[in-house]
């Protein structure tokens, strides 16, 4: 179904919004990995997925952003990799309506290569492979996201391709510099796009770090570099902690949705939100998109 959506020129695919920030709103303890809620408080995770589908998301992603082997190791949860990833699928399946899709979410390992850290391509590859094999049976497509080292992205793509033939959205996270968009590791937008094109991914994306206004600029540059379908998930401005310790994002859902409209007009095929966005944001985007048709 996803490939048909990609071919349908009139279809803009609505992805989900933030998961981590939604979980934190519900009072998860500091230092806890949000993914552990798949097991410990699955009703919270399911409730968030359902809220996104209800708001209009065509597809939602598993709560497995931090469930690669290397990232789980940091929380001493690596021996629970199977159950965390498998339960993530069950939690999503429970509420996924017919004709909607389940996306397997893969986030950064949290380990950098030298000189910053000690990670190697082989470690990344094997870490992702361990996660991917548990997600593969239950998902419709992949979203590899928020990666800031193109080598790590390539490791993740190749690990997916080792066990899966399903479509891949490959989404890096960029910062804006005086010389254009780069990852914090110094990979240029063009370099990243060319490398993932070589890996033959289905969709190329950008998510996190940048807010919706900066993403308008990013997608215009992406469009100039590639003919692949594009996916964008911006953050909702910068978070702010209030007196009571509750996280707030200053940007309104309406302002966000207005920028999303520009992003779609500039060529995005898949649109959603990252940190700080909520089902309310997705609902607002849905209204704007419906107005387009």
């Amino acid at each position: 179904m996803f490939k048909e959506w990609l071919k349908d020129d009139s279809k803009i695919i609505l992805f989900d919004g933030g998961m981590g920030t939604e979980i934190f709103k519900r009072g998860i303890k500091p230092g806890k990995l949000p993914d552990i809620l798949n097991l410990e408080q699955s009703e919270i995770v399911t409730e968030i997925h359902k809220a996104y589908y209800d708001a209009g998301s065509d597809m939602c992603q598993t709560n497995t952003f931090g469930s690669s082997y290397m990232n789980l190791q940091k929380y001493k949860l690596e021996n629970r990799i199977k159950e965390i990833n498998e339960r993530a699928i069950e939690n999503l399946k429970e509420v996924c309506p017919p004709n909607h899709l389940i996306v397997g979410d893969i986030g950064p390992s949290g380990e950098y290569k030298p000189p910053i850290g000690k990670a190697t391509y082989e470690q990344w590859y094997s870490s992702y492979l361990k996660q991917i094999k548990y997600l593969e049976p239950g998902i419709d497509l992949w979203h590899i996201e928020t990666i800031s080292d193109i080598e790590e992205m390539v490791a993740a793509i190749q690990a997916v391709k080792e066990v899966s033939k399903k479509p891949i959205i490959s989404s890096m996270t960029y910062k804006k510099t005086k010389r254009g968009f780069f990852t914090i590791m110094g990979n240029s937008l063009k370099d990243c796009i060319k490398k993932v094109e070589n890996e033959n991914v289905d969709v190329i994306g950008g998510n996190c770090t940048l807010g919706s206004i900066e993403m308008i600029e990013l997608i215009k540059e992406m469009k100039n570099i590639t003919n692949k379908p594009l996916s964008i998930k911006p953050n909702a401005g910068k978070p702010r902690l209030t007196q009571g310790g509750i996280t707030h994002y200053d940007q309104s859902e309406q302002d966000f949705a207005k920028d999303i409209l520009q992003i779609v007009k500039s060529g995005a095929k898949i649109i959603g939100g990252c940190c700080g966005t909520s089902p309310k944001t997705i609902k607002e985007i849905k209204m704007v998109l419906d107005g387009l048709v």
Binding site: K29, P30, G31, I116, K178, R179, T183, M185
Partner: protein
Amino acid sequence: MPQESFYEEISESIVNLDKDKAISLAKKAIDENMNLLDVVEKGFGAGIRRIGDLWDEGEFFLPELMLGGNIVQESMELLLPHLKANKEDITSGKVVIATIEGDIHSIGKTIVATMLSANGFEVYDLGADVSAEKIIRTALEKNANIIGVSALLTTTMIGQKKLIETLKERGIRDKFKVILGGAPVTQNWVNECQADGYADNAIEAVKLIKKLMD
């Protein structure tokens, strides 16, 4: 002036991230009995400042920051024992830095610590998931000027505020400047915590601390 070109050569080796060259120039300066204070300030200090400028220009990224920082740190370790002045006289200030309790994200904090050392600060990096109690105890023991507290998660940020509150309760808030770091930190949060500042990245952190030490 030959001396000036020697300093330039050092600075150039830092910007080129040429560790062997930088180390050999540091050794040469020691062997030839040069004014090492000048070598540190006009050579290595200038080099690390240029790295900061290149970051601002979008020419350098995390790997270059880290490499450059490490090269200067290693050169300084070589030079320090030979400096005629007391360590106290040449240090830009003492900084105790840590990621707050409950938060295991240490990459940003480590880069800040490296850049501060490279800029002549005496840095005590306590690592990640560190209690406010331990941070304060170390700051008192080391007679630090600055406490730097990092938090990546919006759920652990609250620990930054608690640290400052603890300092106030003990009547020692004025002993230290407290600065915050981490992706979710904003000026609003600094105001609310009554901290002394925050920085978006390692280069900004160095600038901020230098300003606070003035």
